[in-house]
Symmetry: C2
Subunit: 418 residues, 2 copies
């Protein structure tokens, strides 16, 4: 028996259902005050008043309890876009950026993705597992109960497999559920700098077939952007992935409109991510094809860019919006979904309700787990976060701090602030 009774919750705030919410429904949440939530065998088995609970289950005297007084209960956060299993560190590039150095100057000085590729290639799988676990630890304390994690710093068959193995092993050992993504098409490795199409073929013909077996990856991703993978190369990679059962998603229109959103719509990708430079036509195409938008405001903040992805415009266009950390060593070194929500509030002008949907139900649907995660409903997995403050508003109102009081994963309290 694995029972947990969460009592006296000041506010329970959650989206409902198993499908993404978009447009005017992006911020559609249910709010209840003064309720209890009873978890049994890892699932939510009851939500209601103390009187209702006693009528159905009795006093539950010996049952583990979590006191929700003065707190807000929300679904466990789902971080739908991260790059956790990296080695090395790039704080020096960050220092160069602060002094006005450009991305190209930093790359010329040996920085950028390829510097992380060098460090990650040199690390063994245990090192990558440890690094991933440390980051998952931090994410858990910030309320994340499920995370998508990408490869993409190996850029060889062996290197990508090593990262995917590290992801799988870290997921086995950690309370946070991990959903793996193959991102061999993250960059062009030095070995293929002069024959880029050859690298695309290696990905399509060798790496994807080898990584698609045994559940090593669920998604296939590609960095579709000017100077990286063009639309044709991206299409080739994503279709090859789909042939092997890997669902397509892509980094799209991060710096310029590179046709990524349109490609996502054309091939029916699960999501297009970044989208700072998405055009109205791209947004409309995504809405029409049911492609979700994964927005990553930490990148705009960390790279000190003036502009953020046009979140309000995407909501208006009817695209279901997801918010994620993009946790990575070069452009968004944070594990904090609460801070990402605060950026979305203050910089993108989403409402707190829209943000909650974006980091719970919509994110879960993006990862294909909307049936069991992303909302607080009877029958779903008991993945829950207890936040300080007696209403959801405090998640934005009390900024720059960690608002998480406790985290419940599959009905067990896996983190609690003293």
């Amino acid at each position: 028996m694995n029972d947990l009774l969460i009592t006296d919750v000041a506010e329970l705030a959650t989206p409902l259902g198993t499908s993404p919410l978009a447009g005017s429904r992006q911020g559609e949440i249910s709010r209840r005050q003064g309720v209890e939530v009873f978890c049994r065998d890892g699932e939510i088995s009851f939500i209601g008043t103390p009187e209702e609970r006693r009528g159905r289950f009795g006093d539950l005297d010996g049952t583990a309890r979590l006191d929700g007084a003065g707190c807000t209960l929300v679904p466990g956060f789902v971080d739908a876009h991260t790059h956790l299993p990296w080695a090395g560190s790039r704080e020096n590039e960050f220092a160069m950026r602060l002094t006005g150095k450009t991305y190209l100057e930093i790359a010329a000085a040996g920085g950028g993705i390829l510097s992380t590729v060098r460090a990650t290639r040199a690390a063994d799988v245990d090192h990558l597992v440890r690094n991933t676990l440390r980051r998952l630890d931090r994410m858990l304390t910030l309320g994340t109960t499920t995370a998508e994690v990408k490869s993409g710093y190996g850029l060889s068959l062996a290197g990508e497999l090593k990262q995917l193995r590290a992801i799988r092993e870290a997921g086995r050992r950690h309370a946070v559920d991990v959903v793996p993504t193959l991102l061999a098409a993250h960059e062009f490795p030095p070995e293929y700098r002069d024959d880029r199409d050859a690298w695309v073929e290696v990905i399509a013909e060798e790496i994807i077939p080898a990584c698609a077996v045994g559940g090593m990856a669920r998604f296939c991703d590609v960095f579709c952007e000017q100077g990286v993978f063009d639309v044709e190369q991206s299409r080739r990679v994503l279709l090859a992935g789909a042939e092997h059962g890997l669902l397509p998603r892509l980094h799209a229109d991060e710096f310029v409109d590179s046709g990524g959103a349109t490609l996502a719509a054309e091939i029916g990708a699960v999501s297009a991510d970044h989208l700072v430079a998405v055009t109205p036509e791209g947004a409309a195409a995504m809405a029409g094809a049911g492609v979700m938008a994964v927005l990553l405001p930490g990148v705009s903040f960390f790279l000190m860019k003036e502009s953020y992805a046009p979140a309000r415009r995407l909501v208006s266009a009817g695209v279901p919006v997801v918010l994620a950390t993009d946790c990575n060593p070069g452009s968004s070194h944070t594990e904090s979904i609460p801070f990402i929500v605060q950026l979305a509030l203050f910089q993108m002008k989403l409402s707190i309700e829209e943000c909650l949907v974006a980091v719970t139900l919509n994110a879960a649907c993006c990862l294909g787990i909307g049936e069991r995660a992303g909302s607080i409903e009877v029958g779903k997995s008991a993945d829950l976060v207890l936040l300080e403050g007696d209403s959801l508003l405090h998640l934005g109102y009390h900024f720059g701090v960690n608002p998480v009081r406790a985290v419940v994963k599959e009905g067990r309290v896996v983190h609690q602030v003293a």
Copy 2:
């Protein structure tokens, strides 16, 4: 005996001296790798290599130790501008702002400073002590070891005294040192709405004399701004405070150039705070008169303003810059100096070294405690913060999370992450 040995510090980063650093010296810090710090009887008594330490103190086998491996040691943060002892909460105003409501519309709906005044007047001193202690707890976990704390939500003799008593009591009970400021001139209370000068006279003739005795306050502050206290009223309050031994400082040029910076220079104020709208002339006057600039970027972030105080221009003008949270319920609800540093890096383009000086030595000098706090030097109080990461850069590089591993106050470990 109260000894503590901090071993194997990856990087020790600190300003030096007891005077504020300005201009090209704003970012002047000392960096040492692989050192130990030995604290005795609350003071720093040694900084050097393990060999040097053994030569002077021997093995110190029975001494308490703090492992600094992989971490950066910096002076305890000094938060030079907060409004901690408030009652009530204003998350609803925050929600109104998110939907585009203006400050005036919010005030018309019963919001603004006066809503906190109502709640704080209705609270007893114990309630205010508890609230202040809770906020000091949070500050300590984020590395703050000294905080200035203002009154200003009483707006009557009894109300201001009640807040100052709460500040003193909280300071007595808490590890964080507290420096009290009288801010009776925070707003005009409803009772004096139609005779504003009469309120200024009450402050000057009754409140200041009563609050200046027994060390209840060290500073006298005023909100000099269009629609609040004009320059003449501000001068009257600050000169009255100075007559009673309260050092002048002021909220200046937050929304428009209201002459606050010039007034600060004219009367030799310790600091002018906010300064988002400071003019080049105001900055030059401050530099000439030795007035420090206390910048509060959390307000720009939280109020979703386009502009931040011109920190680079103030540094260029030779004004010593301080960074602080402005922790308050209406315009900056955060206790996090690390997050304030990140805003200063990413939004104000200060360097990490300039930021460190701004939250340690310069802040300590602003509070008049530069002789004993603000730097890691033999003879100063052992107020120290151990940050994750092997260089100071990680304080900005790993954003949106709490980087504090341990806090030492007067030689004792008062907070440590498991």
